[in-house]
Amino acid sequence: MRLIALLLAAFFFVVGILYGLGKISFLTESGAGHAHHITHLVVAWALALLCLIWARFQSAPR
């Protein structure tokens, strides 16, 4: 489970960067400015952070 959590965190982190750079525009408003991509970046990184916390909960001593 810890590995899955870390892989998901890495995935969301990369997706966030791609949104931030404007390389992907999936689920963004057509013709939108940079702000809408930043929203997606923040949400993707928030999910990455949650996955890291999930990994932390998997690895702590019981």
Partner: protein, 286 residues
């Protein structure tokens, strides 16, 4: 937008964001009913103004629940450092808020733009306002039935299960539809998951805080867009007015739900929604 219009919209936002009557629906219906044709809801300056109103509302909610938020955030950090879940009530509430917020973030990103395009006019907003009222009636009726036929007891927020927290979060996502109230729909979901009215309202307001704050903060760049000719004095007064209205609203509602239910708001939504829907169908408001 005149100063008076800005003030009315700010007070409307502050009150209707927390009362279960849909702020989005009211900010579509009221300007349309008052024939405020000078307000373009899609213009950068109006969007920037709305950002300030959201920030004012979020600050009011944080101030009202400042002691709770301090305890919750502290407990969450302690839990992360420890690396395991504990039995501290603040920590349990915190993780339920985190879990409940995830669906709003994901579904908001997926559906916000198409929903705004499809339903951002008075007729759909009025129709959804009627549905919002009916949902509150149905929620109250189902809850009464649940607690009459089975030996189910109300429980506090910290005893809510994680799937139930996700359910409340998913329910809150329906507030993307103009006319569906964030606090109303999440309270109904909370009631059906065995929270009582007081705890359902508290969970709903706590759950709304990060969402409203994020909505404000993420849209902050719109304040500085070159085409956003934001009149500073209107924005500042609007933000403060929205904040004061939101603070008074949450103070009133937390007392109200100690001994009352959602039905009066259900009646309001059905009646007002029906009137506005009829006006929109006749072309009186556009």
């Amino acid at each position: 937008m005149t100063f008076a219009q800005a003030l009315v919209l700010a007070l409307l936002q502050g009150v209707s964001e927390l009362f279960p009557i849909s702020s989005l629906g009211h900010t579509i219906l009221i300007p349309a009913a008052l024939q405020w044709h000078n307000i373009n809801r899609a213009s950068p300056s109006f969007l920037a103004f709305v950002v300030v109103l959201h920030l004012g509302t979020a600050v009011a909610l944080i101030l009202f629940y400042r002691a709770e938020w301090y305890a919750i955030v502290r407990a969450l950090f302690a839990s992360i450092v420890r690396g395991r879940l504990g039995d501290d009530p603040d920590e349990r509430i915190g993780w339920r808020l985190v879990v409940g917020t995830i669906p709003v973030g994901i579904l908001g990103i997926i559906f916000e733009v198409p929903v705004r395009r499809l339903f951002g006019s008075p007729a759909p907003a009025a129709a959804f306002l009627i549905i919002n009222g009916l949902v509150m009636f149905a929620g109250e009726a189902l809850r009464r039935r649940q607690h009459r036929t089975a030996e189910r007891k109300s429980k506090p927020i910290e005893e809510l299960s994680y799937p139930a927290s996700i359910l409340v979060g998913v329910a809150q996502s329906f507030a993307l539809l103009p006319g569906i109230s964030r606090s109303g729909i999440s309270m109904v979901a909370g009631l059906l998951c065995d929270l009582d009215h007081e705890h359902a309202a508290r969970f709903s307001f706590l759950l709304a805080t990060p969402v409203i704050l994020a909505a404000g903060l993420l849209e902050t760049p719109k304040l500085f867009a070159p085409e956003a000719h934001l009149v500073l004095i209107e924005a500042i007064v609007g933000g403060i007015a929205a904040g004061i209205a939101a603070y008074c609203s949450v103070a009133f509602l937390t007392r109200y739900f100690r001994s009352n239910d959602l039905r009066p708001f259900g009646w309001y939504c059905v009646v007002v929604g029906t009137i506005f829907f009829a006006l929109a169908r006749r072309g009186v408001i556009t």
